[in-house]
């Protein structure tokens, strides 16, 4: 009964999604236009660069599927990264640092979830508020300075290789697999799909959906904590503005991937494609030495164009 009521909300895939066309087209164009693009070194480069964004975009997909939004992710990542840096520098223990970062993420996720599910504050507002709080705390704990002296073993998380593959790619792939299983092969995933647009069914089925919603936001916070580890390892420091605004990139990648804002239709693989499209575009434009101002405009045009393709298709059908 429950599963039937819920299955109607499961994702419907567009025939040939705009994002796949965009990724294929861009890759082909850059392969022809810039000789350096299609080398193993550069492709692994693009993948590694995309991992931090992917770690945010995965939970963002789930959050948007619940008709929510998390604007605080970039700021929480920044704060978690500072906390991680401070702990690691003080204790020389990566485990303690990671626990600290995850704790920050989970705490903010809990607050977000409580504001949204408990107090019924719209997600945009609640997370705009916690964005300010996290950003402010980041400035306060660091006094606006970067935290340096990160030990070498932390850097290896980003720059190291495992089984001959750059570690960040493995981390990204692992979390993608985890989210895939979570969303498509567990009861939790089925409920997440139902949270967007089918909440009444959940209530009828006696599911405590408010707790579920809190869990979704805590998942987002935890992922910001994981991403904080990679960010700290990447820049070899904690910095009070390191990831400001990254949540908007994540939202754009999710939207590019065809996850819709109002019906709860999500597509995890689309999110992966969206993240890669943004990565390929930036990388290719850099390789071609396109001026930064033109790059800025290209990113905007791509976001609009991909959404336009999907919106035209959905109005036609």
């Amino acid at each position: 009964m429950t599963d039937q009521a819920v299955s109607s909300a499961s994702p419907r895939l567009p025939a040939v999604p705009g994002v796949a066309v965009a990724l294929a087209g861009l890759s082909l164009f850059f392969a022809l236009a810039s000789p350096g693009f299609l080398t193993a070194g550069n492709l692994s480069n693009v993948l590694v660069q995309s991992v931090i964004l992917l770690l945010l975009a995965l939970p963002m997909t789930l959050i948007i599927m619940t008709e929510g939004l998390d604007l605080s992710m970039g700021a929480v990542l920044t704060l978690a990264s500072l906390v991680l840096a401070l702990i690691v520098v003080a204790t020389q223990s990566l485990a303690l640092g990671l626990i600290g970062a995850l704790a920050v993420g989970l705490a903010f996720g809990l607050v977000n979830g409580w504001l949204i599910a408990g107090l019924s504050i719209p997600p945009f507002v609640a997370t705009l508020g916690t964005l300010g709080a996290a950003q402010g705390l980041a400035l306060v704990v660091s006094d606006g300075q970067s935290v340096v002296g990160i030990p070498r073993f932390v850097r290896l998380v980003y720059s190291g290789e495992t089984f001959g593959i750059p570690t960040p790619i493995l981390i990204g792939a692992g979390f993608y697999a985890l989210f895939h299983i979570l969303l498509y092969h567990t009861r939790f995933g089925t409920y997440v799909c139902a949270l967007g647009g089918n909440r009444d069914a959940l209530t009828l089925a006696g599911v405590a959906w408010k707790r579920l919603l809190v869990a979704v936001y805590m998942l987002g916070g935890a992922m910001a904590g994981v991403a904080a580890l990679l960010m700290t390892a990447r820049i070899n420091a904690g910095h009070p503005t390191a990831a400001i605004g990254l949540e908007f990139d994540a939202i754009a990648a999710v939207a590019l991937g065809g996850t819709s804002f109002d019906k709860g239709n999500g597509w995890l693989f689309g999110t992966l494609l969206g993240v890669l499209t943004v990565g390929v575009l930036r990388n290719g434009l850099n390789l071609m030495a396109v001026p930064s101002s033109v790059q800025v405009a290209c990113i905007g045009a791509l976001v609009i164009a991909a959404l336009l393709v999907d919106s035209l298709r959905s109005t036609r059908s």
Binding site: Q49, I52, G144, Q145, N236, H239, A243, L287, A289
Partner: protein, 322 residues
């Protein structure tokens, strides 16, 4: 003045020109953002120097101003392209060290400009000493107000290297004058509007302000607008020696601006990079002496950037300390 080019028409031209660029050395120039006029002076300096030696300067600027992850990505992408050399202004002097090390690993020669990197190996450093810049500019103002009175400081972005050193210079200069009182030191983040509004607010709580030390020109210009709006008078100094500041000095609204000489930094940094590629002797440390641009010496700064020319190598080498 902005270049009145039309975006859409220019796009294909840019794509073609970048593909056709093969002859001569390619110097990749990294700057912090597209919005601060100071970095434009660095870029133009680099371009003028490259052109004078038959090389080509290609610019990499984060699309989000001062974004650390983005500059790191650009570094990684540029390593794939293997430019002949790199002229590098780190967006953050500590957080960009991993990027510099990657460039070192790729064996691409690199010159550090403006902000001294906390790590990595460079051919040379070309910059200005922010501390003495702040010190000299503040001294100039404090002498001008007769060595006594009330002053306020407008700080830049918290934690940035330039801001720490400039503000330290300001404070040390104030300590030299016993009769000068520091009323407040508030951040306005190098922003014009924030400079204006913070000054408006400070004027409410302090009826007598004789001097304002702003850590860059944009904030100083904001302060002037605030003073004008309130019909109050105070001597104001900024830092950077931008075109706008020079115009304000000409009309007597701004007392002085400590010159950071981005144009010269871009010039010399690029000259060093190209000379190293050609196995010509170079210098490894150029710290430009501060110039306090004021009503008596602004003329050389009053010409458009593009028409300025780089110093000859012997002139440039004479500025070097190592």
């Amino acid at each position: 003045m902005p270049k009145s080019k039309f975006l859409v028409a220019a796009l294909p031209a840019i794509l073609i020109s970048s593909a056709a660029l093969a002859a001569g050395e390619t110097i990749a120039v990294f700057t912090k953002n597209q919005t601060n006029p100071y970095f434009q002076t660095v870029r133009v300096g680099a371009e003028v120097a490259a052109k004078s030696l038959g090389a080509k300067a290609v610019h990499y600027i984060p699309t989000k101003p001062d974004s650390i992850p983005e500059q790191l990505s650009q570094v990684e992408d540029v390593i794939v392209k293997k430019p002949s050399a790199i002229v590098f202004v780190p967006v953050d002097y500590k957080a960009m060290v991993p990027g510099v090390e990657q460039i070192n690993d790729a064996k691409i020669p690199i010159v550090n400009v403006t902000d001294r990197s906390a790590g990595g190996k460079f051919l040379a450093f070309v910059g200005a000493d922010d501390y003495s810049l702040g010190l000299e500019t503040a001294r100039f103002l404090l002498k001008e107000i007769g060595g006594k009175g009330n002053v306020v400081i407008l700080e830049g972005v918290k934690g940035s290297l330039t801001n720490i050193d400039r503000v330290r210079g300001f404070n040390d200069a104030i300590k030299e004058f016993k009769d000068v009182k520091l009323l407040a030191s508030q951040p306005a983040n190098y922003q014009r509007l924030q400079g204006l509004q913070v000054m408006e607010n400070l004027m409410q709580s302090h009826p007598q302000i004789d001097g304002v030390l702003a850590a860059n020109d944009a904030m100083a210009i904001g302060v002037i607008e605030a003073l004008d709006g309130a019909n109050r008078k105070a001597k104001v100094v900024g830092i950077n020696g931008t075109k706008e500041a020079v115009d304000a000095i000409k009309t007597g609204k701004l007392l002085a601006s400590g010159d950071y000489n981005g144009f010269l930094q871009g010039c010399i940094g690029t000259l060093v990079a190209i000379r190293a590629l050609r196995n010509e002797p170079i210098v490894t440390e150029v710290v430009l002496k501060p110039t306090v641009v004021n009503a008596s010496n602004f003329q050389p700064y009053d010409s458009p950037l593009e028409s300025r020319s780089c110093p000859s190598w012997s002139e440039a080498a004479a500025l070097a300390s190592k």
